[in-house]
């Protein structure tokens, strides 16, 4: 793959380039001391000393009309910076970005809402900020309000809105700008489930209408399903560019490989008579690991220590995606595995002969409770994080888990 001349090829669009990024470099200033005072500047003879941080390093890429492209990469890889440069919010230090068509950037919904003004006044205000004329807004007002589902509240001040209502109205205005190019930064992860479905439908409509969409997301599943192409940014450079499924797979298999295993990310509570000291994920080689593949034979091992005898305790495991989706939550009580009594140390294994989780990053939370699962001895939220890389079954169309099903073909015989 040549990152310098990446042309997203797509058969069902005319392929006319609408965004051309050519050799874009962006540096940020990291100030030694954030002393923005005149006195400090005079004393020093200049403004505060700073180091430069290269957020984007000579990036070139082309987005053809009608394409949906995902930008992926770790935090700080420059994907949001690139998006902001495309949106003209940031100005590149070198290189050019030419954008052909009306752009709407969904970086933050409802940015610019005035809390004291009514929903109606804010629709006009926000619409104007996004570049709509009053006339255009007049004709779209009803559909904006309807999409947000706020007809009843449109004349009350937005400070009385719930955060969900706020975001819905913001999204509704932004999406009704009818842009040719939509730049989206993680905003799909907001609102309730019903609203998310609505957003997803709206995006599908826009794609069908031949609009160009550039999406920055950590939700790799979303990138896999929504985008044809993906760009993987690493330290401000294009690491890979190509079909979304392939790029996401490569990314996931490499991501965080050197990460410390068993690292704890979340909270912990419980009465502490007995604790889960350590959580291990035993891979197919029989050794603790933080990286497995779909289809592997693995064991989740909970090392416990009981300072006093605990009769009939219950061990539980919860697995969440990075986005917070609860995938599964098995425990020894429901599995009817009797544990007579724990006293001292030992471990409990959850053996999974075939992991069906699809590529992505997941967190394991563990719990040790009494028989009725009422009293908690120890609860460790996100006690361990692990990556799942591509394996068997291999599914590039996203999701959290495979069903592990089998396909059978039965043609009718005439």
């Amino acid at each position: 793959m040549d990152p310098r001349a990446p042309q997203a090829d797509r058969t069902d669009s005319d392929g006319r380039p609408v965004i051309v990024v050519d050799g874009v470099t962006k540096r940020f200033r990291l100030y030694d001391e954030r002393n923005q005072s005149l006195k400090a500047a005079v004393m020093r003879g200049r403004r505060a000393r700073y180091e430069e941080f290269l957020a984007l390093d000579d990036i070139s890429l082309t987005v053809p009309q009608g394409a949906t492209i995902g930008l992926i990469g770790e935090n700080g890889s420059g994907k949001s910076t690139l998006l902001k440069c495309m949106a003209r919010i940031l100005r590149p230090d070198a290189g050019t970005i030419s954008v052909d068509g009306k752009v709407s950037a969904l970086l933050e919904l409802g940015a610019g809402f005035h809390p004291e003004l009514s929903g109606r006044e804010n629709v006009y205000l926000n619409g104007a900020i996004l570049g709509l004329s009053s006339k255009e807004l007049d004709s779209r007002f009803d559909s904006i309000v309807e999409f947000a589902g706020l007809s009843r509240f449109i004349d009350s001040p937005v400070k009385n809105y719930s955060s969900g209502m706020y975001v819905r109205l913001g999204f509704s205005v932004a999406i009704n700008v009818s842009p040719d190019i939509l730049l989206v930064d993680e905003v799909l992860a907001v609102g309730d489930e019903q609203f998310q479905t609505k957003c997803a439908e709206k995006f599908a409509d826009l794609r069908e209408d031949g609009k160009t969409i550039v999406l920055v997301s950590h939700a790799l599943g979303t990138v896999r399903t929504m985008c044809e192409q993906a760009v993987w940014l690493e330290h401000g450079k294009v690491r890979a560019i190509g079909t979304a499924g392939d790029v996401v797979d490569d990314y996931v298999s490499e991501m965080h490989q050197g990460r410390a295993e068993g690292e704890s990310h979340g909270g912990r509570w419980g009465s502490g008579e007995a604790v889960i000291e350590r959580v291990e994920l035993i891979g197919k080689e029989g050794r603790p690991t933080g990286h497995i593949a779909t289809g592997d034979d693995v064991t989740i091992r909970l090392h416990y220590r009981a300072d006093e005898p605990i009769p009939r305790p219950v061990f539980g495991v919860g697995i969440h995606t990075m986005g917070g989706v609860h995938v599964t939550g098995p425990n020894t009580h429901e599995a009817k595995v009797p544990i007579e009594k724990i006293d001292g140390t030992g471990h409990v294994d959850l053996h999974v002969s075939r992991v069906l989780l699809l590529p992505g990053t997941y967190d394991i939370s563990v719990a040790l409770t009494d028989t009725e699962i009422v009293h908690t001895f120890d609860f460790r939220q996100r006690a361990m994080r692990f990556d799942v890389g591509p394996g068997t079954p291999h599914e590039t169309f996203g999701g959290v888990t495979s069903l592990g099903g089998e396909w059978h073909w039965h043609p009718d015989r005439d």
Partner: protein
């Protein structure tokens, strides 16, 4: 060319942002818009008591109008001053206060500053209208002079906008601009013939010091407003030429400074 097209295209945005400023200003206050009149009236009352009643300051009657009311004399200079000082203070915060917007949406950033000035221009117009009524009530037939006053207000707007543009970006890079401006405004206020007549300055200072005093654009503006509304005569040609040139230069300088520094606004905020 694209720049001008863009600024022209943001007319609706300017109107909407101005409305936001205006609506937001007095929301949730009982008197609402009344405050925009009460404030200058209170200042007027204080200055009248202190300077006219206690200190016996007695500026000469309007020539040729013959009007001799200290409060009206004061307002003719005070209202244009308030327009400047409100726009400077508001303009200074127009970028810093909208940091969130600037970081998240692209639009011509000048509009934020312009909307702030426009909102103060609107208040200024209302205050002036009230002043005109008062002048007429005291026998000063100001109506034929109103078109000229409106033109002068427009010229002052160019001046005010230029300064607000500079201050708005300056305050992003140096946050102590806001503290400095408080002092600057005080010195500038007393260095402008608002509570006292220009003739008083002429009596006490002369030579290069007086030239320096006269170079103050607000002194020239105050003089022009007072000529048109209090004295009911045309300002001198020199006076008008000066305010037009200074205002044009300030606006151009403001726009250039703004252009120069706006590129990194989203990062610096």
């Amino acid at each position: 060319m694209t720049y001008f097209a863009e600024v022209a295209g943001s007319r609706d945005l300017l109107i909407n942002l101005t409305l936001r400023e205006l609506r937001g200003k007095y929301k949730r206050s009982v008197l609402g818009w009344g405050w925009s009149l009460i404030n200058p009236l209170a200042t007027m009352a204080i200055f009248t008591v202190v300077f006219s009643v206690l200190l016996k300051s007695n500026p000469a009657a309007g020539d040729p109008s013959g009007l001799d009311v200290f409060a009206l004399f004061l307002l003719c200079g005070l209202l244009p001053w308030n327009y400047l000082s409100n726009s400077m203070t508001g303009g200074m915060y127009s970028l810093v206060g909208n940091a969130n917007l600037i970081k998240k949406v692209y639009f011509p950033r000048e509009v934020l500053v312009a909307a702030n000035v426009a909102s103060w221009l609107f208040s200024f117009l209302i205050e002036m209208a009230v002043l005109w009524v008062a002048l007429i009530a005291f026998g000063n037939m100001v109506i034929p002079w109103i078109p000229a006053v409106l033109v002068l207000m427009l010229i002052q707007t160019a001046f005010v906008l230029g300064i607000a543009l500079m201050l708005s970006v300056l305050n992003v890079y140096f946050r102590d601009t806001q503290h400095l401006i408080g002092i600057v405004l005080q010195v500038w206020f007393y260095g402008t013939p608002i509570i006292y007549p220009l003739s008083l300055v002429q009596q006490h200072i002369s030579g290069w010091l007086y030239t320096l005093y006269e170079a103050n654009p607000m002194a020239q503006f105050a003089q022009a407003y007072r000529n048109l509304m209090y004295d009911l005569r045309w300002p001198t040609a020199g006076n008008i030429t000066y305010v037009v040139l200074v205002s044009a230069a300030t606006l151009v300088a403001g726009a250039l400074v703004f252009r120069r520094f706006e590129g990194r606004l989203a990062e610096e905020l």
